[in-house]
């Protein structure tokens, strides 16, 4: 099957620091691919380069076969690659509904309309409500984003990313900072996204990784040190060394 997202030999330097070195990864449609690794491994940098926030020093990224390397982030988003952020990056003064409604509006021609009041385009609001419902936030629609609990804000992050019907969804530590109960809830919500949604997820919580991932790529100091099925990665001696060495557990 052809890859829906192909990352080829991506390198990113910051002056003397090599944050990503020859990282290659490919994701097939419907796959759930986890990217794991100790802190500082370059995972978020990888996302930043793929989503266009940063330009790569060298390498290629292609989405559905066409290159997206070096395109501005809004252009990449329009082409069907959506992401969430590790730290809640919301429109905090606006309501949850408005956040998602705006996200839904982004990839439509509606933004060009200057003279039609928003309430006369109900399909965007309806879509927003559907998404909020999917992410268990239906009853918080009218609340300003800043008044949501931390966990609810993380859920809102995902709802926003889903609004544009992305072909590939990049989730940057969706459960970071969450309690076990919230984490379980988020995992269930993500699982409900179904097999049509291709997902690449950065995660530290191994329970989440093993619950969701079809394949795992392990990054360490900017390089891929292993890639494959969860069982294969678990058994890989280099991976074990990296995790044992850093004191983080690999056990689910």
């Amino acid at each position: 099957m052809d890859a829906i997202l192909a990352i080829e030999r991506l390198t990113r330097r910051f002056g003397g620091l090599v944050a990503l070195r020859d990282v290659s990864l490919s994701v097939v449609p419907g796959e759930r691919h986890a990217v794991i690794g100790p802190n500082g491994a370059g995972k978020t940098t990888l996302f930043n380069v793929v989503s266009g926030e940063l330009a790569p020093t060298s390498g290629r990224v292609s989405l559905l076969g066409s290159g997206i390397t070096g395109l501005p982030s809004h252009e990449i988003a329009r082409r069907g690659l959506a992401r969430t952020f590790q730290r809640n990056n919301l429109l905090f003064s606006l309501t949850a509904l408005e956040n998602v409604r705006l996200a839904a509006q982004a990839c439509t021609p509606a933004t060009r309309r200057l003279f039609t009041p928003v309430h006369r385009l109900p399909h965007l609001e309806e879509r927003a409500r559907v998404l909020l419902d999917r992410m268990d936030l239906a009853d918080r629609a009218a609340a300003p984003a800043r008044s949501l609990s931390y966990g609810e804000q993380r859920q809102l992050e995902v709802a926003i990313a889903l609004a544009g019907r992305p072909k590939v969804l990049l989730l940057d530590e969706p459960t970071s900072g969450m309690s076990p109960a919230e984490t379980a809830r988020m995992t269930a919500l993500l699982d409900r996204l179904g097999r049509e949604q291709t997902v690449v997820i950065i995660e530290h919580d191994m329970d989440v990784v093993f619950a969701l991932a079809d394949r795992i790529t392990v990054l360490y100091l900017g390089e891929v040190i292993a890639s494959g099925t969860p069982e294969a990665v678990r058994a890989d001696p280099r991976v074990q060394e990296v995790y044992l060495g850093t004191g983080e557990g690999l056990e689910g």
Binding site: H74, S93, T111, P117
Partner: protein, 347 residues
């Protein structure tokens, strides 16, 4: 209310709330009826207020809705004023000719400034709007052959409309009222549109909007140009109102004064800045009869507004009365200078 949350409405979508509706009706009635008393003083005072109300509302689109604080909004205003002055004093009296010309000139000035100023993020934007407007001032000041230099251009006749004599204060007032009303309605509609909602998103978190897929540079440019067009309208009307145009229309104090009007009235509400314009002009008229130190007083007012009432009059009104709740203004500090404008480098 089923209004789109987050959109700051001038007239809420499905009907205006009780108290606010009353206030607006009273104001509208006053604007329509008072000049009928024939008082020239009333007509000219209200004309000036309307002209600056348009100016202030145009800046509010930038400041309150998009989160772009421009310190050079005098540029489209002054360029349009000079266009009217030049055309009128050289034989072109027809409004149908001067007004479009002024709009085009002022909007073009805004677009040109926007191209440069908007590429720069945060603080640089502020400085560039200031710098380019001052450049326009310098040109008007030096190019005496065309602009009359420090003496400016005087003797601007009233505009000529077929079948209407706008020579008197009252007829001219009604023209200005009509145009001001149109501008207000157009701006209000824009703020309540999907485009307006996108502008609010840019104000709240531009980086997130880009990640959603919005070309935020284009959005900001569009806002800048629309605001420029509205400012140009007010500039053109100002030239007719004043009968005289000097480089002062392009000076930083003019940009500062309209910003005070917006902040005092309450950014992000459209109605607030319009009221702010009236308030500042009243204050100016009052002060000028006692002292020449209006600039000093304006500065003091500016400082006071920044220190004490960041949401301006609209914010104060909101705190006072339930029905005026929805006049809550965008905090002018919440948007324009993101705490870490790292996007400045990563364009």
């Amino acid at each position: 209310m089923n209004r789109a949350p987050g959109a700051r409405a001038f007239l809420p979508a499905s009907g205006i709330r009780g108290g606010r509706r009353l206030v607006l009706l009273v104001v509208a009635a006053a604007l329509l009826l008072v000049p009928l008393t024939g008082s020239r003083f009333a007509a000219t005072t209200l004309t000036e207020m309307l002209v600056f109300a348009i100016f202030a509302m145009s800046l509010d689109l930038l400041v309150g809705y998009t989160g772009l604080v421009s310190l050079g909004h005098a540029a489209p205003f002054g360029v349009a004023a000079y266009t009217v002055a030049l055309l009128s004093t050289h034989g072109t009296a027809a409004l149908a000719a001067t007004l479009p010309a002024a709009l085009v000139a002022g909007t073009a000035a805004a677009a040109l400034i926007g191209v440069f100023a908007l590429r720069a993020a945060g603080v640089y934007f502020l400085m560039l709007t200031l710098a380019f407007a001052q450049m326009a001032f310098a040109v008007a000041h030096e190019w005496a052959g065309v602009t009359g230099g420090t003496n400016g251009l005087s003797g601007i006749p009233r505009p000529a409309l077929p079948a209407a004599d706008l020579g008197g204060a009252v007829p001219f007032y009604y023209l200005v009222l009509l145009l001001a009303g149109l501008a207000a309605v157009v701006l209000a509609r824009i703020t309540r549109s999907p485009f307006g909602a996108a502008l609010a998103g840019v104000r709240e978190n531009e980086a997130r909007m880009r990640a959603m897929g919005y070309d935020t540079f284009r959005l900001k440019m569009a806002a800048f140009v629309i605001a420029g067009a509205a400012a140009a309208l007010s500039g053109a009307l100002y030239a007719y109102y004043n009968g005289f145009v000097s480089p002062d229309v392009l000076y930083w104090t003019t940009s500062g004064q309209v910003l005070v009007m917006v902040l005092l009235g309450g950014a992000g509400t459209l109605a607030g800045p319009a009221a702010g314009a009236a308030a500042v002009l009243l204050l100016q008229n009052l002060a000028s009869s006692y002292t020449e130190r209006w600039t000093l007083i304006l500065g003091a007012a500016f400082i006071l507004v920044v220190l004490a009432a960041p949401s301006g009059l609209a914010g104060v009104a909101a705190r006072l009365g339930g029905p005026l709740r929805r006049l809550r203004a965008a905090n002018p500090g919440a948007g324009p200078l993101p705490p870490a404008p790292s996007e400045g480098a990563a364009r």
